[in-house]
């Protein structure tokens, strides 16, 4: 192959090697990865990957703490995982069958505010949704989650803290952690 290929394709080769390793049965369990330090600002790298163990200004909770928290009244649960979007150019006959979106019962599903950089209209939407859910009470406990190994909820929780909310909880175990504990889910309201 031409030498020009090499620099542009270094990533492809690396990925191919990775895939080859996985094909050989060397898949690495996600939870053995080392938790990175918190970025100074929002995380703009790949959404899926090892996440920090901390969130400055907020509280990191796991399933036990979340269940305890939910026994109290007035907790706002927010799922910030993405909504599948049907590509306009999908073949007409191709089945497009997104599954109904499962959430922790009682959650608001607000896709969008978890990316590292978001458009002003998405930022405004997030601010308004939180304001209306909390009744403009910055002391209302908020729990933000998406999936395991997913930065969307870390970013969105950081955004909520910067919006002034004082009791922001981040649940990094996400839907996978909730389901692993065999707890009930429900279908998001906005479907």
């Amino acid at each position: 192959m031409s030498a020009r290929w090499v620099p542009a394709c270094a990533r492809t080769y690396a990925l191919a090697l990775l895939a080859a390793a996985a094909w050989a049965g060397a898949a690495v369990p996600a939870d053995t990865a080392v938790a990175p330090d918190e970025p100074v600002d929002y995380w703009t790298g790949p959404i899926n990957g090892p996440v920090p163990a901390t969130l400055t200004g907020g509280t990191v909770i796991h399933t036990t703490e979340l269940r305890a928290l939910l026994k109290k009244n007035g907790v706002i649960l927010v799922d910030v995982s993405n909504m599948p979007r049907r590509p306009e150019n999908l073949a007409p006959g191709a089945p497009w069958l997104p599954i109904p979106h499962p959430v922790i019962p009682g959650s608001l599903w607000i896709p969008g505010p978890g990316m590292g950089a978001i458009a002003p209209d998405v930022e405004a939407m997030f601010r308004d949704r939180l304001a209306s859910a909390t009744g403009n009470d910055i002391n209302r406990p908020i729990v933000i989650y998406c999936h395991e190994r997913c930065w969307l909820s870390w970013n969105a929780a950081k955004r909520a803290i910067r919006l002034g909310y004082r009791r922001v909880h981040w649940y990094p175990d996400g839907m996978e952690g909730w389901r692993a504990a065999r707890l009930k889910t429900s279908i998001a309201d906005n479907e």
């Binding site: 191919a16 269940r67 590509p87 150019n89 999908l90 019962p105 839907m175 389901r179 707890l183």
Partner: protein, 266 residues
Amino acid sequence: MLLAAICALGSFAEMSPARAADDDAAARAERWKALQTAILGDRKVHDGSGVIELDAPPRALDAALVPIGLQLTGNEPIKAVYLVIDNNPSPLAAHITFGPKADPRSIKLRVRVNEYTFVHAIAETQDGKLYATQKFVKAAGGCSAPAGSDDQQALQDIGRMKLRLLGDIAAGKPIQAQLMIRHPNFNGMQMNQITRYYTPARFIKSVEVTYEGGEVFHLESDISLSTDPVIIFGFVPQAKGKLKVAVRDSEDATFDHSFDVPEPAT
């Protein structure tokens, strides 16, 4: 009684563990049934043991790049395989039909997985019988993972290809080949971190591979295929010849490449 009282005291979000797990299993079974109908109509699907095997990591390192291997282990001649990722929004990840030049016993590719899901592989025999097998894959978020750091860069290299023969070539003996195609396979769900808007979908619709004019395989796919697809397939070289690859994407752009297959040892 005590148990019932404890459960009753539990929060609104809870239920007995066994019940939740059953619901999960029931929902997954129902989903597969619905997908069978959507993709295969009312055709009977048999147990794939001894016909088709599916290799997939129980937990994937990268949800945007989940390696899948299909092994056709039966004696009946195989016409095609379907790869279905049950819980992806576009569940039919690939439909591969094999031609006369193929060695259809093994094919590997990489896919995106949006959330924990069963993956089904279905073999269709020449006489139209269907055999299915399944694996559960724990991976989440593959559909929204950015294709790379730079959309423009990805589009610049679009359509470039590489082919590597895996092993020594011998006339009339099946050989595996690794085909690498540069294509971002944007699925429309990835956000561009600079423009802050979704990158428009642009993805590979078909890959046609021929050897000396005879078909090796034809793959129909869409957004579940990973960025920069890598496909490992088998074919049977007879003599020095050309392996041709034709890729078409959702913009109707076509990318053709011809690779020289060297003279096999006799």
